[in-house]
């Protein structure tokens, strides 16, 4: 099982703060495709991904028990 977190406008789009998925192991790139399809999300071109609170790249693998977060362009400060 993996936990996927949504923030900001993605949280509004998905309608949930987090979902639990039974997809591990899966690459970030593949997970992204699944999420786009599942929630009819727009491209996510400028959305970053984090695994366990560290930024990840498309090749990185999500393992069982990991927490993935979708990070839209940030606007703090």
């Amino acid at each position: 099982m993996i936990t996927v977190l949504f923030f900001a406008h993605l949280q509004d789009a998905v309608g949930q703060e987090k979902v639990i998925m039974d997809k591990a192991p899966i690459s970030i790139a593949d997970l992204k495709k699944e999420l786009v399809e599942l929630y009819s999300l727009p491209g996510l071109e400028n959305v970053m991904f984090a695994i366990n609170e560290e930024y990840a790249t498309g090749d990185d693998l999500v393992n069982d028990g990991d927490t993935v977060a979708l990070i839209p362009p940030v606007s703090g400060g």
Binding site: I28, N46, V74, G77
Partner: protein, 156 residues
């Protein structure tokens, strides 16, 4: 130094408290950046803001910015507090304090910190106007990740 120097909070930020965390006998210069909620952005009137954050990762990333600054400006000390939740006009959203032995460094390192916050810290701002509301994206308006992954230089 036991107090946490990189935090997110829902409480009002006391700028002096943040600054005091970095005042030291050996550092004569302290710069404090205070980011407040501005009423007008390009003639659009903001009523209030909401900040959301991925709290544990955001605090880690603030700490990373502190580490980066220690690398680049060896004798520096940094403290950053960012507020989340609902903020009214003129409320303080962020305070960054940097102390260094010499003042030039204190300005440079502080400006580096706010730039990095706008690049890598997972905090999002929702603006509320009279006629609507919106999550504000990339303020830098210069990043996009066509490969779905940030480049190395964006993260490190």
């Amino acid at each position: 130094m036991n107090e946490k120097r990189f935090i997110l909070t829902e409480d009002i930020i006391n700028m002096e408290e943040v600054t005091n965390k970095v005042i030291r006998r050996e550092a004569g210069a302290v710069t404090t950046f205070t980011g407040t909620v501005r009423e007008f952005t390009k003639s659009k009137r903001t009523l209030y803001l909401e900040y959301d954050a991925y709290v544990p990762m955001a605090e880690k990333k603030l700490e990373q910015i502190g580490d980066e600054i220690n690398e680049k400006w060896p004798d520096s000390m940094v403290a950053i507090t960012h507020r989340i939740g609902r903020l009214e006009i003129s409320d303080i959203a962020v305070v960054i304090a940097v102390s260094t032995p010499h003042r030039r460094d204190a300005y440079e390192a502080n400006e580096y910190a706010i730039e990095r916050i706008k690049e890598i810290v997972p905090i999002w701002k929702k603006e509320h106007w009279e006629d609507g509301e919106m999550w504000i994206g990339d303020q830098l308006e210069k990043k996009s990740y066509p490969t779905g992954k940030p480049e190395q230089e964006d993260l490190v």
